[in-house]
Amino acid sequence: MKTPLVSVAWVVLGTVIGSFGAVFLKIGAGHLNRRLQSLLLNWRLALGIAFYLLSSVFYVVGVRNGELSVLYPMVSLGSVWTLLWSNLLLGESLTRPKFMAVGLILAGCVLLGLGSR
């Protein structure tokens, strides 16, 4: 079974959407206080979860017509986008350990993908 490029595109787009979800969860987390309303009525968190759900739809559609061993490692691309957004949108520092860790995690997921062929 070959993996069509369209499936790859669905999964990669899913990781981009998921990374926006993470950014909104982070922003929403900054608006939490001791009251339960700040968790339940937090539109930033709701938007983050909505992005997550949307990304899983993209993932399911992508995986349907492709090989899991090829597509599965791509899910870890979410870490790359998140690293980018945390710097550009949240002003977090990009340090050498963060790059190293994301590199190792990508490599590890590629190995897991190779192992599940």
């Binding site: 950014v23 939490l32 977090e92 590199g103 590890g108 897991l112 192992g115």
Partner: protein
């Protein structure tokens, strides 16, 4: 003359370490939730319709616990994000895949091979780098 310590720009290191531990717990809960959902899906039968699946999430105990655990881990992740950098905590979630891989070998008798072992080791090393960075 006394030197005044500069205030930390991001969250203090020890707090980030605690946030890191919370996300670690998230990855265990995530893996347990995946296992529940996988086991629960089997109880839905061959080709469930979307409605049957949606009803199953409420009526099938395993599916319900799977999604409840997923919700719990999301809340825990958000609470952890309050105390730590997203760029430090988000990549840790990848560990969930590691536990799922281990669980599928132990519970669903998937094959284990050298690629999987290497992948698990390399991902754990990557998370270890983040863990070290969070405590400095």
């Amino acid at each position: 003359m006394h030197t005044v310590e500069a205030p930390p720009k991001s969250a203090p290191p020890r707090r980030q370490g605690r946030a890191m531990l919370a996300v670690l717990l998230c990855t265990f809960i995530n893996a347990a939730s995946q296992a529940c959902i996988k086991l629960g899906t089997a109880s839905l039968g061959g080709h469930p319709t979307m409605l049957e699946t949606a009803l199953g999430i409420v009526t099938k105990p395993l599916l319900f616990s799977g999604y409840a655990l997923l919700g719990a881990s999301t809340v825990l992740f958000v609470l952890a994000l309050r105390k730590g950098d997203l760029s430090l905590l988000y990549p840790v979630l990848t560990l969930g895949y590691v536990w799922v891989t281990v669980l599928s070998v132990v519970m669903f008798h998937d094959s284990m091979n050298s690629f999987k072992i290497a992948g698990v080791a390399v991902i754990i090393a990557g998370v270890g780098v983040l863990g070290k960075a969070s405590s400095q």
